[in-house]
């Protein structure tokens, strides 16, 4: 079901940036997403795309640079992203720099009965670096292997008013993929020096990546994805995160800020124990990812609205299992709580995944557009 009525038909990064910087309470409430799967992008635009190829590209982005077929598929995905942003009315198009770090991901076995497409998740048990020997043998990419091809490509085709939102996988996120969460949890207690060394390598690469990404004229902001929480607390102890991760996140955020670009954080889970560090030390400009059973977005907004902007909040359970009426009601509840004070954008609590009902995605957009119209925008 392609989109019938876009959220809007012009693009205004300038306004979005003012909202993200909490510099205005005027103007329409913008919409934002960290990630939209290939299937919903195809459905919205009516453009066919083999979704499983997107999973392959995200899993092994580096290979695309040496493989013409993969490169062609990557360009098609970028075209799809551009068409999607234009069709819906986002003020940005999301692109991902190519950082050729070899890692593992797990996918479900092909299931012809599955209604949704393929997705991939990080390895939870054991990754490809579990000890010092494997760390020493691992081939870390050189900094000149990081490619901004997607940002260059999209940057050359942006319509007036649109910027590139650059999504970067975080160091802790990649660490989990390299080690496996279980192996990482054990190593964080038994061999923190190994974890420290892996993080140091990843920080070297990510500081460079964010530095050149943020310097790119097409870049509007960096959307940095770093899941650090479970539903009840941080995955590893706050002490560990404060010692080994937070100071490095600050280096990465600084690399972004020195070019005057915004550093938006996507991080799932209950992060109360490190939130002060994320805001005060790292200097995040915005927080994204909310689950109603952990902390509804309104509660977070009330606590932190004076210090960071707040992004999204429509619970994934609701978007994938609820009715359109329920989505509209919840969207309005959130807008009432978060829109008048500014520094807020509507969006999903996590992502528009391939299991979100497309009619619910449209309901969220429609209700937000209606809200904006009611307020004269």
């Amino acid at each position: 079901m392609p989109i019938e009525r876009p959220f809007k038909t012009s693009y205004n990064w300038e306004h979005l940036e003012k909202v993200l910087r909490r510099q205005t309470t005027e103007g329409p409430v913008p919409i934002i997403e960290l990630l939209v799967d290939a299937e919903p992008m195809s459905e919205v635009t009516g453009i066919d795309f083999p979704a499983a190829k997107a999973v392959e590209l995200f899993t092994n982005a580096g290979a695309a640079l040496n493989d013409n077929a993969a490169l062609e598929m990557g360009l098609k995905l970028m075209d799809l992203s551009l068409a999607f942003s234009k069709a819906v009315g986002y003020d940005y198009v999301t692109m991902i720099p190519i950082v050729p770090i070899r890692k593992t991901r797990r996918t479900l076995a092909d299931d012809p009965d599955a209604k949704r497409g393929q997705r991939a998740w990080i390895e939870e048990t054991k990754g490809i670096i579990s000890d010092r020997r494997e760390f020493e043998e691992y081939e870390w990419p050189s900094l000149d292997q990081v490619s901004l091809l997607p940002i260059d490509y999209a940057g050359g085709q942006l319509p007036a008013g649109m910027k590139v939102m650059v999504q970067c996988d975080g160091i802790f996120e990649i660490l989990k993929e390299l080690m496996g969460l279980q192996q990482l949890a054990i190593a964080s207690i038994k061999d923190p020096a190994l974890v420290d060394d892996i993080l140091e390598q990843l920080t070297r690469i990510m500081v460079h990546t964010v530095d050149i990404v943020a310097a790119h004229p097409a870049t509007g902001a960096v959307f940095y994805g770093e899941d650090m929480g479970s539903s009840v607390g941080t995955l590893l102890s706050p002490k560990f995160l404060k010692n080994y991760v937070i100071p490095r996140l600050k280096l990465i955020a600084d690399a972004c800020h020195k070019h005057g670009k915004l550093f938006l954080l996507h991080s799932c889970g209950q992060l109360e124990d490190i939130m002060e560090d994320l805001i005060g030390v790292v200097g995040i400009d915005a927080k994204h990812s909310f689950q109603d059973n952990i902390e509804p977005v309104e509660d977070y907004y009330r606590k932190y609205r004076d210090r960071v902007s707040v992004l999204g909040g429509l619970d994934m359970n609701l978007l994938s299992s609820g009715t359109t009426e329920e989505v509209k009601i919840r969207t309005r509840q959130i807008l009432k709580a978060c829109a008048p004070g500014g520094g807020f954008c509507v969006g999903s609590g996590n992502s528009i995944s391939n299991y979100v009902k497309i009619e619910n995605y449209y309901a969220m957009l429609d209700e937000t557009r209606k809200w904006n119209e009611e307020h004269g925008y």
Binding site: R106, T107, L108, A109, D111, A114, R116, W121, E124, T125, L181, Q182, L184, A185, I186, S188, I189, K190, S230, S231, V232, G233, T234, L235, L236, S237, P238, F240, G269, D273, Q291, D292, N293, M316, N317, S320, S321, Y355
Partner: protein
């Protein structure tokens, strides 16, 4: 509290191995070793609840517990083994391959005295039902981290009903996004997003104090 329980609670892996081996060598009752290990795991659970410990420590304690059990279990099999608190089937719902929550819960449940039948991840309703029948388990735990797993959980509960087992089996669902609303939708008896809490709920099902 014994040295063994304290060593497990403090995540002292080498010390746990040494104490367990010394106890085995000196002819200690394997069941008493298991009991001390369980006490240690109980302390870990308490520290997790009070936020002194986090997921990392929970996983680490599980590994230490497994290592200790690997030494003790052959002795248990050679001698008399204690009766389990209850038999339980556990697995991640069809369409979901997340295993870490399920694995943590499984380790804690074993430590608490449950006899576990783990059907792994992406498990179809018929696999859960077959294992329930074969094991005679009275508790079923279904894990899931993704919203689509709700539908699989529901289908699994329906399959348990269709097999005529529902009145004999208590069903608990677990995972980072499950809620009371999901429990009702699925038709389960209990819900948790926290492994130690899940163990407490299963203990209640088993009639344990």
């Amino acid at each position: 509290m014994s040295d063994l329980a304290n060593a497990i609670a403090d995540l002292k892996e080498d010390e746990v191995k040494k104490i367990v081996q010394d106890m085995i060598n000196s002819g200690a009752d394997p069941l008493s070793i298991v009991e001390e290990c369980r006490k240690g795991m109980d302390i870990v659970g308490e520290r997790y609840k009070s936020k002194e410990y986090f997921l990392g420590e929970l996983i680490m304690s599980g590994e230490i517990f497994k290592e200790a059990m690997a030494v003790v279990e052959p002795k248990l099999k050679a001698g008399k083994s204690g009766s389990p608190l209850a038999k339980m089937v556990i697995g991640t719902a069809k369409g979901d391959i997340h295993n870490i929550g399920k694995d943590i819960a499984a380790t804690l449940l074993k430590a608490a005295g449950f006899e576990l039948y783990d059907v792994g991840v992406d498990a179809a309703p018929e696999v859960f039902v077959r294992t329930l029948k074969e094991s005679g388990a009275s508790i079923l735990g279904i894990s899931g981290l993704l919203t689509p797993s709700f539908e699989s959980m529901k289908l699994t509960v329906q399959a348990v009903e269709a097999a005529g087992l529902r009145s004999k089996v208590k069903i608990i669902i677990g995972g980072g996004i499950v809620t009371e609303v999901v429990r009702k939708y699925v038709g389960a008896d209990a819900v948790t997003d926290d492994a130690p809490e899940g163990v407490e709920l299963c203990k209640k099902f088993a009639g344990a104090k």
